[in-house]
């Protein structure tokens, strides 16, 4: 019995087929029949990511040494060894988790990973040290509890995030959860969202003033707003586009001050089409939509999206979910009840002060489970699921601050909840404080990490946790966020005190440093981006934090915020606060500076890999060709098993899929209908002779035409075998044709007035 067999119908058909296809593509890759880039993007789009040292080399402290994995040259992407462990990213839309899903995540961490579950800064879950051979079963077990890893990485629509207290927040406009949920479902696998040059991130927030969904740093961010019209209150969204952090952060631009709720999904679809058509594909460093918005200007971008919107054929899914909105909501497990006069222990009081949020619904609170570095062990997660079952049911969410919140806790249950969380090591106080630090994986596991963000975050947490109860309130509520490199996965730009890893050469050695980033704003949906003020050796960063926060307490004007303080004081004065800490003692004076936090090795960056965050730019045609090859492979298996009809059907399906992929280069809206595919293939590629081979002419196209004309499937082995061989030749011819058609630059339609924007495209 395999997991596929054991889970049976618990895996939804569509996800099951998707995973089967992926498994077939793994088999093809093992046989060397799939291109490295195509397979890399294939696995990335299913959440199977690379991990540090998967290029087969590592600095062990004495130099870069080979890691001789037993892969016999097999790879799972460019410069990525097959047997090297990888990371698996698991999308959790709006961070919403059921207790059954928590159980499964715990099981997967134990059986395929290292026993640790990591919450990311975008409400995802990540497992590390996963072998690629284990990923299909991992996906099946997730699918059985309603989770897909599809499009968790790669050039796709990533996890749709939302405020973790949406629906229970005291000052939100309305609950944005169902809109986030609908967007995630609508965009998942949508044909118009498959041909991006880079990822596309969507976020929803219920208000403007808090951090919530961090709309300002998203490709598409929507803040819930209402307006009065015709005597009624209408729901809508203030929509922003083109935000993003990364090496070159862009603040989002206002796309529309009020977008009616029924326009959210069609606008996302139209925007996806514009991004797919006009976004940069070759230079991934400039391929995010923020660059397209900057290049075109927000007005022209808006015009193009609106124009595209008018062309879209009506899709009922745009509005179907709206009918269910009046009934949407979470059902509390228990009746609300105030805490009363209970004071509890000192530990309970400390925890309550920082980890409990009073919902707008009387008698209920949200309890934050503060996770050090976003981590919890598999047994902790399983026991947390048990605690959740007892106190709140399935109303659990992951947060962008790498924590987990339990919503709808009956307030009078708080002392008991605290006791149970404490028993499993999950009652850490100081949630959403200066001691609750956000960090990307950095050099621990990320191929791009330069310095140890987790090492620094752990050290800062250790030092600050003991001071939480006694420190000035103005400092306690500050945020620290750390990234291992400039790509900003730790969101350092929008924190009060941000740090990102860099390196410096000193006396023939490489020294880990962090740039100190000041001037960012966490509130107002990440309302302002900070700037790097100066690079400081890693080992001096705790002292930098101490000095800046001390000065803030001493010199702040009344209730002056940290953002206002840094703005008033200015970058020069801020830098002067720690300038003396920027120098590095000689190696023979203090070798500790030449090692990173939590790592005894002499620091080096010679073993860094090539990042996969950008994914591989693979066209829709290449995906269809990969799918066609997978079908041929499956057909061969069926032929071996003696199911000739099935083998015949798969070979025919492979030709149709390859043909459809080619048609997509001219007509993105081609349907799955065989009649349409064959007719359009004939007019677009056969009649025009574009498909013709230099020597064989139109011979390969005839394979498709003949099988299409034949109404009955093959009943014998010979006929089925022949069709499989013909299908393989047809797919090869499609590859060749696609190669001839490649390198056609995108054409940007001119605005109604003014010069063509195409001229400014880089």
């Amino acid at each position: 019995m395999t997991w596929k067999h054991a889970l049976g119908e618990r895996v939804p058909d569509d996800l099951g087929r998707e995973i089967d296809t992926y498994e077939n593509q793994m088999a093809l890759k093992r046989q060397g029949k799939l291109d490295d880039k195509v397979f890399a993007e294939t696995r990335l789009r299913r959440g199977a990511y690379g991990q540090r040292y998967d290029n087969g080399q590592r600095n062990d402290g004495t130099g870069v040494k080979p890691l001789p994995f037993p892969s016999d040259g097999r790879t799972k992407g460019p410069d990525t060894v097959w047997d090297a462990p990888g990371m698996h990213r698991i999308k959790i839309p709006f961070g919403g988790l059921t207790t059954a899903q928590m159980d499964t995540l715990a099981e997967l961490a134990e059986e395929y990973s290292d026993g640790v579950v990591h919450i990311t800064t975008r409400q995802d879950v990540q497992l590390h040290y996963v072998h690629i051979d284990d990923t299909p079963d991992l996906m099946r077990r997730l699918a059985a509890v309603g989770i897909t890893t599809r499009e968790a990485c790669g050039n796709t629509v990533r996890n749709v995030t939302a405020c973790p207290i949406a629906g229970v927040c005291r000052d939100e406009t309305f609950d944005v959860t169902p809109y986030a949920q609908a967007s995630a479902r609508f965009l998942l696998g949508h044909p118009d969202a498959q041909d991006f040059g880079r990822k596309f991130k969507v976020a929803f927030s219920g208000c403007k003033q808090h951090a919530c969904g961090l709309v300002n740093m998203h490709d598409f961010g929507a803040i819930g707003v209402t307006r009065e019209a015709d005597g009624a209150t209408q729901r809508g969204f203030e929509v922003y586009v083109g935000g993003g952090l990364g090496a070159v952060p862009h603040e989002a631009k206002l796309f529309e001050p009020f977008m009616a709720e029924d326009e959210i999904l069609p606008t996302l679809q139209a925007m996806s089409r514009v991004f797919a058509r006009l976004g940069e594909k070759k230079n991934r460093a400039r391929a995010r939509i923020k660059f397209l918005v900057a290049q075109l200007g927000i007005d022209e971008f808006r015009r193009l999206v609106r124009e595209e919107r008018t062309r879209l054929p009506r899709d009922d899914r745009w509005t179907d979910y709206l009918d269910d909105l009046p009934a949407y909501g979470e059902t509390p497990l228990k009746t609300g009840e105030p805490l009363g006069d209970v004071t509890g222990s000192g530990a309970f009081q400390a925890w309550s002060r920082t980890n409990v949020y009073h919902q707008r619904q009387p008698g209920y609170v949200v309890a934050t489970v503060s996770l050090p570095l976003g981590d919890l062990s598999s047994d902790q997660l399983r026991r947390l699921a048990t605690v959740a079952r007892r106190f709140v049911g399935d109303t659990v969410r992951a947060t962008v601050e790498q924590n987990i919140v339990l919503r709808w806790v009956r307030e009078s249950d708080l002392p008991a909840l605290h006791r149970e969380l404490d028993a499993i090591g999950l009652a850490r106080p100081g949630a959403e404080s200066i001691a609750d630090i956000t960090s990307c994986p950095g050099t621990d596991t990320c191929k791009l990490g330069i310095a140890s963000s987790r090492g620094l975050a752990a050290e800062l947490e250790r030092r600050l946790a003991g001071q939480i109860e006694t420190m000035d309130e103005s400092v306690r509520s500050l945020r620290i966020k750390v990234s291992g490199c400039f790509n900003s996965c730790g969101q350092h730009h929008i924190s009060d005190l941000g740090f990102y890893g860099v390196s410096r050469h000193v006396g023939g050695h490489v020294v880990p440093h962090f740039q100190v980033v000041l001037g960012g704003k966490w509130v107002e949906n990440g309302g302002a981006y900070g700037l790097a003020v100066g690079a400081v050796p890693s080992k001096n960063i705790p002292e930098v934090v101490q000095r800046i926060t001390d000065r803030y307490v001493e010199e702040r004007n009344d209730a002056e915020s940290f953002y206002a303080f840094t703005t008033r004081v200015g970058k020069r004065a801020l830098r002067a606060m720690f300038e003396d800490l920027m120098s590095v003692p000689a190696h023979d004076v203090d070798a500790d500076y030449y090692r990173d936090w939590g790592d005894p090795r002499e620091f080096g960056i010679g073993d860094m890999g090539i990042g996969e965050c950008a994914g591989e730019v693979v066209s829709l045609t290449e995906f269809d060709l990969a799918g066609a090859e997978s079908q041929i492979f499956e057909g061969q298996l069926q032929l071996e098993a003696g199911d000739f009809e099935r083998a015949d059907a798969l070979a025919y399906g492979a030709m149709l899929q390859a043909a459809r992929g080619l048609i997509k280069t001219e007509n993105i809206d081609i349907s799955d209908d065989a009649e349409q595919i064959v007719a359009q293939f004939r007019t677009r590629f056969f009649d025009t002779e574009l498909f013709f081979d230099r020597f064989a002419g139109g011979k390969f196209a005839q394979y498709l035409f003949r099988r299409h004309a034949r109404q009955t499937p093959a009943s014998g082995a010979d006929t089925a075998r022949q069709l499989i061989e013909e299908a393989q030749l047809f797919v090869e011819a499609t590859h060749a044709c696609q190669a001839r058609l490649a390198a056609q630059p995108p054409v940007i339609p001119p605005p109604p007035d003014g010069p063509s924007a195409a001229g400014s495209q880089s």
Partner: protein, 207 residues
């Protein structure tokens, strides 16, 4: 995941399995102290396997604390259920019968445990008990956490213990926590230490 109504694969197919020995009560090891030791082991190929990296989870109060990750398996200073010990988990398939595979695991674990006990960077901080061993099956398909799995595995474990330990009166207790992986604790009544009770381990990389 309730698989009770299905016929699981034979337990003998179990590959993802772990063994754990526990630190004695008077051991004073802070798992973080083992981080430089594990990094040195990578440099010197001190223990079995293609050694890849060290992962620091010492901030977690339970579960793995500090890991030495190899291609074939994971060495972990593990704090599951609040008790610190050294655990070796086989993560890639091994040849041989389950009994043979468990013996390879045991020898790998004991080699690493003895190296920790004698490491000059950890003077007097580490001593492992020889009278208590956990066997954990990280495969709910092959080895669900049921009494039947224990009944099936028990002869194999008894046979293993008779070959690798001088102890004789082992009792077996299964962890019955709902949802937890199959975990059985084998305990003998003596107060033996690993260095005196375990059969001499093989030298690294000899298998």
């Amino acid at each position: 995941m309730n698989l009770a109504t299905m016929t699981p694969p034979p337990v003998d197919d179990l590959q993802r399995v772990a063994l754990k020995v526990f630190l004695t009560n008077d051991s004073e090891l802070d798992p973080r102290d083992a981080i430089p030791v594990f990094h040195r082991w990578i440099q010197t190929h001190a223990v079995n396997g293609l050694l890849i990296d060290v992962a620091d989870y010492a901030h977690l109060p339970s579960g793995p604390s500090v890991l030495l990750v190899a291609h074939e398996g994971q060495y972990a200073l593990d704090r599951t259920h609040g008790r610190l010990g050294l655990q070796y988990t086989q993560t890639r398939p091994l040849d041989g019968s389950l009994s043979e595979r468990l013996e390879v695991l045991w020898r790998t674990l004991v080699s690493a445990a003895r190296l920790l006990e004698t490491d000059p960077a950890l003077p007097g901080l580490v001593r492992f008990a020889g009278n208590e061993i956990d066997c954990i099956a990280q495969d709910r398909l092959c080895a669900p956490n049921t009494p039947e799995t224990l009944a099936t595995l028990r002869p194999t474990l008894e046979s293993l213990l008779s070959r690798v330990s001088a102890e004789t009166d082992w009792s077996f207790t299964r962890d019955t926590e709902p949802g937890a992986p199959f975990r059985v604790t084998a305990k003998s009544s003596s107060s033996a230490f690993l260095d005196t009770t375990a059969a001499q381990p093989a030298t690294p990389n000899d298998d």
